[in-house]
Symmetry: C2
């Protein structure tokens, strides 16, 4: 039996509502169109890309109330298989207001519904079930109120007992504690790595130094993303400095999630580390050429692989 399912986890998904106004009036009444609504949250964004890569992807997490049912309906429309726990409260709606006069976005993000201990027990049972036949498990994004920051650590441990490869993409305590469970791969951005090690990098060598610490701590594959400046990718034996090709940036929303998707795709396809470097960079870069929350597809990535410059360091 072929097992090649990817499972993405989104404990605090959101409805992302994007609206445009002529000019934001603080203290006044701004009339907006309903605008575009997307199912959001890192794990869901990753799943969107994997769907484009024709990967058998499944999503799980926690939704609540009317907004949660609306989010599940959006996933359904996208053809993304979802197994979410439904709890009391309301899934958050994040409003992104684009002010045309200033070309700037003002965001209003909610916290999400409160998750009780009992909810978490029920989610544990659900997770055990949806982890069946999964090869790669992606844990990314923030958590809603009520959940402790060791949650990713616990779930990585659970997955490892079943020989499932895990990818962790989180920040702060979620990242720090998750590392204790030795995930297979991690993809911090440069700021998240700085936060973890409590320092500021001025040279690549310093970044590599800390990447080696992560690998020494039991992580097999580390990708440190640096926005337009590319990334550094390393495993126990090799380290590569990766630089993207020039593009016209439309929106970097979803670029990091596209890298994570390409990373899991590469892991499933047993790509060599140089090839992984090309895949994740092409994916992240091509998503940045798309407007709004749109993400890259298979052809985008494949056609631009050779434009990525990689250098062994």
């Amino acid at each position: 039996m072929m097992i090649n399912k990817v499972l993405t986890l989104t404990l605090n998904p959101a409805l992302d509502k994007t609206v445009e106004i002529d000019s934001l009036e603080t203290g006044g009444l701004n009339r907006i169109n309903e605008g575009r609504i997307d199912a959001g949250g890192k794990g869901i964004n990753v799943a969107k890309v994997l769907k484009n890569l024709v990967v058998d992807v499944r999503t799980t997490g926690i939704v609540a109330g009317h907004q949660g049912r609306r989010l599940l309906a959006y996933l359904d429309e996208l053809g993304i298989e979802s197994k979410f726990l439904e709890i009391e409260g309301e899934t958050r709606t994040n409003l992104k207001v684009f002010d045309r006069s200033k070309s700037e976005i003002t965001e209003f993000n909610e916290k999400g519904p409160f998750v009780s201990e009992d909810d978490l027990k029920r989610f544990d049972i659900l997770l055990d079930r949806v982890l069946n036949d999964v090869e790669v498990f992606i844990l990314s994004g923030s958590i809603p109120p009520g959940i402790k920051t060791d949650i990713y650590k616990k779930y990585i441990e659970k997955a490892k007992k079943r020989d499932i490869k895990t990818i962790l993409d989180a920040e702060g305590e979620l990242f720090r504690k998750g590392l204790e469970a030795k995930p297979y791969a991690v993809k911090p951005n440069i700021h998240e790595l700085e936060q973890l090690f409590g320092r500021t990098y001025s040279r690549d060598e310093e970044v590599v130094e800390d990447i080696k610490k992560l690998i020494g701590g039991g992580v097999e594959l580390v990708v440190v993303s640096m926005g337009g400046d590319g990334s550094i990718i390393a495993n126990e034996t090799e380290t590569y400095r990766v630089r993207p090709f020039p593009i016209e940036v439309k929106s970097t929303v979803g670029s990091g999630d596209s890298m994570v998707a390409a990373l899991s795709y590469s892991i499933m396809n047993n790509h060599e580390i140089e090839f992984i470097a090309k895949w994740i960079t092409s994916a992240g870069t091509m998503t940045a050429t798309k407007e709004g929350t749109q993400v890259c597809n298979f052809e985008d990535i494949r056609k631009n692989l050779d434009k990525v410059s990689i250098e062994k360091i």
Copy 2:
């Protein structure tokens, strides 16, 4: 058989979401709590007050999608009988962001779902049904995209054929065209009256002049509200200048709707015009003493009737 039902119409209801933040950062990410969500829209606000007055009130209008079902659930919780048409799209959500640092509210109001001609035909049939046993029909607030501004005119005509008394509380073309059907009562605020007659008032006499025009045009009862400055109320034979009693204003949200509710209550109880003046003023004033979207109750109104000063002019 006793007939004493009031029907309120809300063609473009809203979920009113009120949140607080420390300080609004334009161009940045503002983290908010889910905050308070209320069922909003003028007709719904009027119904809330009438419910407090133990009136047999029923609400109708148009809702859409997940947000619409959420709104109906809120009405259910409030114990307000609702018969809404459900259409495609989404009922609007209006976000009110309170900035603590500046004590100011920035509002983001959506337009509402598009209503097709076919939707309107279906609503017509529903309206014919819910108008049964109704004594007073209140038409108030704005309309969603797709509906023409003569809608209130048509519905007032429909109600009059069934000897139902109508109260119109709308602005712009909705008000202007609605007047052609000669509603029983209207409650413009001073600005709406200025807009209708294309002039700016500096003295009460000028307001009374235009009120007389409305009565000459076939309206039986006119209330012109002037915020903290009180109101002028008139029928064919009498005109009163009404002044409210001093209060600590907490929030004027819903004050106008409370006046409309008290007006319909008074009409149903065959109050004399002086008594109507006291009722509507006590209701509007007491709602202004309540925080947020809270409205007055029966005792609030009754206990303060004698504090209202009225003067025949």
